[in-house]
């Protein structure tokens, strides 16, 4: 990797008046821009909607000059308050959401997008005819048509999140079990530094020497010095800045939650699609499902793309919503189902039988049976199963949203904890014990393949909320003690800041602060994310 200092690109300023703005002193700002899916409430003076890099640079320079600061807002589906402003301005990226084009390099095909394109839009685009889309090199679309279709493997459950948000939080999804988090698929980023200059970083081209890297801007040299901790790469992890010796510069910005720069362009790598069988297998109880998963992970012959879990309470939640007339387009979990595991298994039409045959013995061993399952391989059916999975967090978020009227300070309380394989049973036991002892109700679902199910407390009032908060703190401590991460995919934002000292101690946090200050001396970007300003 290059040891040359990285040169930032100056972007010209444009007239300030041309930037779309909502002024909070004149109109009341819509609440949706002042919160996110954590339901944390924020406040701001004004909201800007830049439509290109020049407008964004103009804004950042203005904020630096005037002592202002801004929170970057994507689609606000984050669940840790990252996009929730605590004063200052909001810079909403929604006008930068276009496809730039399809491209190709030695490693394969990629798509270049503006940051606020949603995952859903990207997926829709990837189902179109590629030659009808803009291309970065002539003929790429036609080539891709001949070899396609292609897909982007990272699949955070919330498809309305922006890709910029995904990069900022290093999001992952069910398929990260096989394909890793967003980080592994980012080929290149354009990042606007807090001073309004741009870094154009292609993976593999710029790195740290040890823990140091120099960025040369038009009128300054920024010495980037990484904290002395090593980011835990042994488990799924999105807690704090990624950092290890000799790392790629691009990785500093992925998962930095908008604290070091604004992402303005993203290249994401694509993969050729292949046929997949989606299977939901039902078990009599939670223990059986978990022992099935443990054995499945040891199997050398069965290689799922994802392994997701639904405990009895999670299935009960879906049954309850359906009984009240909700989720009409989703099937109801059968009455015999006490828990379920969701798998995606690669299988072409000709190997469907052999693939299904291969998991039968394991199913039976753990009290399941091939009759007690759902099995789909058409696109719509598979999407329906994903919606079924997604309906759980969505229902919980709506439920918590509904409590806000009476309890304005309430927000959802759930875990985002991952631990190493060996520690998983202990962690699961700890969740149950702790929550039971506090008299709370909860559901457990999600990324069990990565030892990362979400445990969501079903809150009713502030009393539950306080108890749940204590429990979640205890879970974070336990996770760290077991070598895991208290924030595996949602990031730290403003709600989980207290986890960083657990992981990096006060020394690491001070070094984080220092790195932030070297890039953003005036604190114009995302104050309060990861650390207090």
């Amino acid at each position: 990797m290059g040891i040359e200092p990285v040169r930032a690109i100056r972007v010209p300023s444009v007239p300030f008046q041309g930037i779309k703005k909502w002024d909070g002193t004149r109109d009341s700002l819509p609440h949706t821009f002042l919160t996110d899916e954590s339901k944390l409430s924020g406040h701001a003076k004004e909201i800007y909607f830049p439509s290109d890099e020049s407008q964004l640079a103009t804004l950042l320079r203005y904020l630096n000059r005037t002592g202002g600061h801004a929170t970057i807002s994507g689609m606000r589906t984050g669940v840790v308050g990252g996009a929730v402003p605590q004063g200052g301005s909001v810079i909403c990226m929604e006008n930068m959401d276009s496809l730039i084009g399809l491209g190709k390099d030695q490693q394969g095909y990629f798509v270049r997008v503006q940051p606020n394109m949603t995952l859903r839009s990207l997926q829709r685009i990837l189902r179109q005819r590629y030659s009808s889309l803009p291309a970065l090199q002539p003929g790429v679309g036609e080539e891709m048509d001949a070899q396609g279709p292609f897909f982007y493997p990272v699949d955070p459950t919330e498809q309305n999140g922006s890709l910029g948000g995904n990069v900022a939080a290093n999001s992952s999804g069910a398929r990260s079990f096989r394909y890793g988090p967003t980080r592994d698929w980012v080929r290149r980023l354009r990042v606007m530094l807090p001073n309004g200059d741009i870094l154009d970083i292609v993976r593999g081209e710029h790195g740290f020497q040890g823990r140091e890297c120099k960025v040369v801007t038009e009128d300054d040299v920024i010495h980037l010095r990484l904290p002395s901790y090593d980011f835990n790469r042994g488990v799924k992890n999105s807690a704090g800045l990624y950092c290890h010796e000799d790392m790629d510069l691009i990785d500093l910005f992925i998962g930095s939650e908008g604290t070091l720069g604004v992402i303005t362009e993203i290249d994401l790598r694509l993969m050729p699609s292949y046929p997949v069988l989606s299977i939901l297998v039902f078990f009599p109880d939670d223990g059986k499902a978990l022992s099935f998963v443990a054995d499945l992970r040891l199997s050398s012959s069965i290689r799922p793309d994802l392994i997701e879990y639904f405990d009895e309470a999670a299935l009960g939640l879906i049954r309850d919503v359906k009984a009240k007339g909700g989720l009409r387009k989703l099937p109801c979990p059968p009455s015999y189902a006490g828990s379920a595991v969701f798998l995606d298994l690669p299988a072409g039409a000709e190997d469907i039988s052999s693939v299904l045959e291969s998991i039968r013995p394991l199913l039976r061993m753990h009290g399941g049976s091939p009759e007690r399952s759902w099995c789909l391989h058409d696109r719509r059916g598979r999407e329906m199963l994903r919606d079924f999975r997604h309906s759980i967090p969505e229902t919980i978020f709506q439920h918590v949203g509904g409590l806000k009227g009476k309890n304005p300070d309430i927000h959802k309380m759930g875990t985002d904890v991952s631990v190493p394989d060996a520690a998983f049973p202990e962690m699961m036991e700890y969740y149950a014990q702790t929550l039971r002892s506090k008299g709370l109700r909860w559901v457990t679902f999600g990324h069990v393949g990565d030892n990362h199910p979400h445990v969501e407390v079903i809150l009713h009032d502030m009393d539950d909320f306080r108890k749940a908060k204590d429990a979640c703190q205890a879970f974070a401590h336990k996770a760290v003690q077991l070598g895991g991460s208290p924030s595996a995919e949602h990031g730290i934002g403003k709600l989980k800041r207290e986890y960083l000292p657990l992981l990096y101690e006060s020394q690491g946090c001070k070094e984080l602060q220092a790195l932030k200050r070297s890039v953003d001396p005036n604190g114009v970007l995302n104050r309060g994310n990861l650390m207090e300003w």
Partner: protein, 257 residues
């Protein structure tokens, strides 16, 4: 008892691209699905079936339509026929009905009932059920919401929106099924695996004893001359003033808000 279900594979409704020149749906490379009304017909067939009955699904279409048949086999159908031939390409409703009718006559003459979807969401004519019935000497019934067996006859509910009719029908007939459950019927691993082994027979023009002039474009009685995509725009208009003035405003706008 033998229940025959006529189904069609259509472009995935969420994913259609229109050819800007012809206004036609682009079929090359487009994703496909079972026509939703045909899914209702299949549901009706499966709910009718009792021990010993057979549900036969049939489609006329390109080779890829086999996916739609497998889909039905995974959801309760017992066997399937794919009627496919390059000479079937371009069939209008009449030519399609001719092919389906000949199939019934030659391959499943002992059917007890024939179910179809109300219309295919790509062509949208809704004529095939009636024409199939006419050519086959059967009676068609439209707007069917449900069907059951009672005293050796079919008890059929037709839903006309403002009126619901209950009929008793003797003998085989063609039912055009208009509604069903939106809650999907999800197959199990066993259903999917068993479907792999269920018979799926492919028949061409010759095996249906059809002349070239009877099917495809040659056998069609209609030509689509032109398709224009209509764009409906909605505009909102803010009315201000006293209630009476606003009421006048509504009348001036043609009585519509």
């Amino acid at each position: 008892m033998k229940i025959v279900v006529m189904v069609k594979q259509v472009p995935d409704a969420e994913n259609v691209e229109l050819d800007p020149q012809t206004g036609n749906i682009r079929r090359d490379g487009a994703e496909r699905m079972l026509n939703p009304y045909c899914e209702f017909a299949l549901q009706a067939a499966v709910s009718l079936r009792e021990e010993g009955d057979v549900v036969v699904v049939v489609t006329m279409g390109p080779r890829s339509a086999e996916e739609a048949l497998r889909y039905c086999l995974e959801r309760g159908a017992d066997r399937a026929y794919l009627l496919t031939d390059k000479d079937f390409a371009g069939s209008d409703a009449w030519a399609t009905a001719t092919v389906l009718s000949r199939f019934l006559q030659l391959h499943e003459p002992d059917h007890d009932i024939v179910l179809t979807g109300r219309q295919a969401i790509d062509g949208d004519t809704g004529q095939v059920p009636a024409e199939l019935a006419v050519i086959s000497g059967l009676e068609p019934f439209y707007h069917v919401r449900s069907v059951s067996k009672q005293d050796g006859m079919w008890r059929v509910t037709q839903d006309y929106g403002d009126e619901v009719r209950e009929l008793m029908i003797a003998g085989s007939c063609v039912l055009s099924i208009a509604s069903g459950s939106l809650e999907p019927k999800v197959p199990s691993m066993v259903d999917v695996q068993e479907a792999q082994g269920k018979p799926l027979k492919v028949l061409d023009r010759e095996s249906l004893d059809l002349k070239k002039s009877e099917a495809g474009l040659a056998g069609s009685r209609t030509r689509v001359v032109k398709i224009v995509n209509q764009v409906h725009t909605r505009a909102s208009q803010k009315l201000q003033g006293t209630p009476a003035e606003m009421a006048d405003g509504i009348l001036q706008a043609g009585g519509w808000i």
